[in-house]
């Protein structure tokens, strides 16, 4: 692919901001690793060799009666010492590094839950005896995925709306602006509470609901860029050539608007992560039991005698948001036309 010189210069500028560049690498590594959370923190073994047959319980359930006549034909429970014993008598087991999933209840804790960090539970357990490290890994993944999904869907809608407003101008613009003013006056949190009393919000319902309000964050910027862009001389030249409106918007004006958009994007992403965490903290977010950073913050607040909960929540959320902000700053610098490579 041939990159335009502007793009190449921006990449060079981004890489020149070392803090942002390393933040991006670190964040990417953490995110990719967390995508494979099931292989890192799980209460099911990765591989079982039982009487010469290889099984992969991490991928699909295994019936318990395969391990001997004493067991029932139900899904195998690998936290049961009897099952482990039966398998190891005729084969071997490969475990993930952390032998707990986000919802595994840890048995035989040395002290009542929440229990402090030990070698078995590196970050301790929460008040329902679940391993905090496992929950953090899953929680990070769901937070970031939710943030990405919300940011990209709402940005796409927002850019399209802003583009139409700015390009058409006039009455379209006027009506759209008034609609946005009214729409942004809606009490989001109350609506969410009402929604929560009707249905149990899940990942997708929350996503759609928040998208209904989040898309407006970019519309103003994109609208302004299109208002400006439609009078640029090269846009006029394209119109004089007879290029269709859609093509003019896509090929000539959108690249300008994307500068402002991409600059905002990392900040919107961190805003979305915070939004989900705060809803979870208040109890209006993901369904109970889901791994969530906001819920961990709430636990830390309710269990001040167990500081590992609060500290973990703070560090994980803080690091995630700081990385995103550092990346965002580097992106902003890269798009700054006055910035020079030196």
């Amino acid at each position: 692919m041939r990159l335009s010189p502007i793009t190449r210069r921006r990449i060079a500028l981004f890489r020149a901001n070392r803090r942002g560049y390393y933040s991006l690498i670190l964040f990417t590594v953490l995110f990719v690793v967390s995508l494979f959370a099931e292989f890192i923190a799980n209460d099911r073994p990765l591989v079982i060799d039982y009487r010469g047959t290889l099984m992969f319980p991490v991928l699909h359930g295994v019936s318990e009666d395969r391990f001997g006549p004493d067991f029932l034909p139900t899904e195998a429970d690998f936290t049961d010492p009897a099952v482990i014993h039966a398998i190891e008598a005729h084969g071997w087991i490969v475990w993930p590094p952390i032998r707990y999933s986000y919802d595994t209840i840890v048995k035989n804790l040395p002290s009542p839950a929440p229990s402090p960090p030990t070698w078995r539970n590196l970050l301790g357990t929460d008040d329902q005896a679940r391993d905090v490290l496992a929950r953090v890994i899953y929680g990070f993944r769901i937070s970031v995925l939710f943030g990405f999904a919300l940011t990209f869907v709402s940005s796409a809608v927002g850019i399209a709306a802003g583009a139409i407003q700015g390009y058409r101008g006039g009455l379209t613009d006027l009506l759209f602006q008034r609609f946005i003013e009214i729409w942004s006056g809606m009490p989001q949190l109350y609506l969410l509470i009402i929604l929560g009393s009707i249905i149990t919000p899940g990942f997708w319902t929350l996503l759609v609901f928040l998208m209904l309000f989040q898309w407006m964050s970019l519309t103003g910027v994109v609208r302004a860029e299109f208002l400006r862009g439609r009078n640029l001389e090269y846009v006029r030249a394209a119109k004089a050539l007879g290029v269709r409106d859609i093509a003019v918007m896509w090929r000539h004006i959108l690249p300008n608007a994307m500068v402002a958009t991409l600059t905002f994007l990392p900040f919107n992403l961190s805003g979305s992560v915070t939004l989900l965490a705060s809803l979870d903290f208040l109890g209006f977010g993901m369904p109970p039991g889901s791994p969530s950073l906001g819920e961990l913050v709430a636990q830390g607040k309710n269990n001040l005698q167990a500081p590992w909960l609060g500290i973990t929540a703070f560090l994980v959320l803080g690091t995630t948001l700081a990385l995103l902000i550092f990346i965002g700053e580097a992106v902003r610098d890269a798009f700054d036309p006055r910035k020079t490579l030196s």
Partner: protein, 532 residues
């Protein structure tokens, strides 16, 4: 003792030396012009005299102003010199004045910085200064803010500020470039009058040889950071020694458009063309009036003919060009090749656009920085010949680039790698690739250096001869118009005030505005000091 002596002045940005070895001197009562094209280092030379260089630039050599060495002088001393000994006038009067402060206060501030003077006295003196620079109602204008003044009036305020402390030296950095031609002459006349009345030394930085010829006693010609030739104005113009000076003087656009066939059919006819922008007020945004940008003009263009549309900025000439191409909403009738442009349905209009094209003024703004030159030029083919094979399309683009004088290697490069003149060639290629029969040229040479202007004019003449193009040539520069046009229409405030053949307009201009334009372009009489 000379007032200003500059010896071996150099300016560098880091390792890049942009001005080197510049030496000149200037005395009271004398006008020295530094002339050169953009990027020649003439403005940096002027800025370095009072220690006003932008951050990152370092000056070397020696500058002695009124007996004081200014390079490396402490900031306290520089502040005394700035305004006190050397007043400065900048190119853009809108951005040189503080938009929030009344002009009386701004002039008074310039005085109060340099000497103890009461507010009332400073204000009185500011009124006198405004009167001196040609404000009829000076006392009442003291409380005006910059946006309430015209461009020429703002430049007069700048001159009043520069003169507020009676400095013996006035540095004018392109003082008229941002102004309309009719105002330019007035400002230059004012500068000349002040120079004579106060015995000023005037350092005039400009790219315009007409100004130099009329106003300067001596000239320094700068090219790429050095003075290539210096001497008395009349001698330099009579016998330029350096090839660059010769090129500059001979750079005036030359030639004449190809003769027009007597039976050339009418290609484009506009009748009572109007472009009104509504002014809306109040809660319900009711239309209370309209800006009549183009107010009922009629014009006719035959095949192969060039009609020059001449007028100052804001006269509506560019808007009229856009309206003819239906790039802005307009009313009236525009017939192009027998079809009514303003009422064509969209698909038919798209079809028509292949035959009517436009070239814009600013070669930096009219090319998308994100597309390669090949993509830019091929864009029209993508619309009008979408079935064309890729190889054929590339061949057409390369052929048209060659026609405007660019090599095939330009195809895959990006606009920023080209100079202003080359970029204008790219813009012309983009219009030409569709083989149009009518092209609107919207000030295609105004943003270019003089020597490049002549090349672009020659190119446009050749294209017209080879393809029988009809041009609508929008310009305020009659020197270029003389080389391009068969007929001229003079526009003012949305209306055509005078129209006729080039010879008629040039020979016997009827309208006062036309005469002012002639004076600005060819140095004829017909202007005098007065309020702008």
């Amino acid at each position: 003792m000379t007032l200003l002596a500059v010896e071996r002045l150099g300016v560098a940005f880091g390792a890049r030396q942009v001005v080197h070895d510049v030496s000149f001197s200037l005395d009271r009562g004398e006008t020295l012009a530094i002339v050169g094209e953009s990027g020649s280092g003439k403005s940096l030379t002027a800025l370095s005299l009072l220690g006003l260089l932008p951050p990152g630039a370092v000056a070397s050599g020696m500058v002695r102003l009124d007996g004081t060495e200014t390079l490396g002088a402490p900031e306290r001393q520089l502040r005394r010199l700035r305004g006190g000994v050397g007043g400065m006038i900048f190119q853009e009067p809108m951005t040189s004045l503080n938009p929030l402060t009344r002009i009386g206060e701004q002039i008074a501030e310039a005085m109060r910085l340099h000497r103890p003077i009461t507010l009332a006295a400073a204000r009185r003196r500011a009124g006198e200064l405004l009167d001196e620079v040609g404000f009829h109602d000076a006392a009442s204008r003291l409380d005006a803010r910059p946006h309430q003044l015209s461009g020429g009036q703002r430049q007069r305020v700048m001159i009043a500020m520069a003169l507020a402390n009676d400095p013996p030296l006035l540095i004018a950095d392109e003082p008229t470039t941002a102004l309309d031609v009719s105002v330019q002459a007035q400002i230059l006349a004012l500068l000349g009058a002040e120079k004579r009345a106060r015995g000023l030394a005037l350092l005039l930085i400009t790219h315009d040889l007409t100004i130099v010829r009329r106003h300067a006693d001596r000239v320094c010609v700068m090219q790429r950071g050095t003075i290539v030739e210096a001497g008395r104005t009349d001698e330099i113009f009579a016998q330029p020694q350096h090839p660059y000076t010769r090129a500059l003087i001979e750079a005036e656009p030359r030639g004449r458009p190809p003769p027009l066939a007597a039976d050339a059919p009418v290609l484009l006819e506009a009748r009572d063309l109007k472009v009104h922008f509504p002014i809306r007020r109040g809660l319900l945004r009711r239309t209370v009036g309209a800006v009549r940008a183009v107010d009922g003009i009629s014009l006719r263009l035959r095949e192969g003919e060039t009609l020059a549309l001449v007028g100052e900025s804001g006269s509506g000439k560019s808007t009229a060009g856009y309206a003819l191409l239906r790039l802005t909403a307009a009313s009236g009738r525009v017939a192009f090749a027998g079809k009514d442009v303003l009422s064509q349905p969209k698909p038919a209009m798209r079809h028509l656009r292949a035959r009517m094209q436009i070239v814009f003024q600013d070669p930096f703004g009219s090319l998308s920085p994100r597309l390669s030159v090949g993509e830019i030029v091929a864009e029209g083919l993508g619309v009008h010949a979408s079935g064309m094979a890729r190889a054929e399309r590339e061949r057409r683009v390369a052929a048209v680039l060659a026609e405007v004088g660019l090599g095939e290697d330009a195809l895959h490069r990006y606009p920023h790698e080209f100079s202003g003149g080359q970029r204008q060639r790219i813009a012309i290629a983009r219009a030409m690739v569709l083989n149009p029969s009518f092209v609107v040229l919207d000030e295609p040479t105004s943003a270019l250096d003089m020597s490049v202007q002549a090349q672009i004019v020659a190119l446009l003449q050749r294209l017209q001869r080879d393809h029988g193009l009809a041009y609508l040539f929008i310009s305020h520069d009659l020197r270029v118009v003389r080389a391009m046009a068969h007929r001229v229409a003079v526009m003012r405030a949305g209306r055509i005030v005078e129209t006729g053949t080039l010879e008629a307009i040039m020979g016997a201009p009827q309208h006062p505005y036309t005469r002012a334009l002639m004076a600005a372009a060819f140095g004829l009489d017909g202007d005098g000091p007065g309020s702008a």
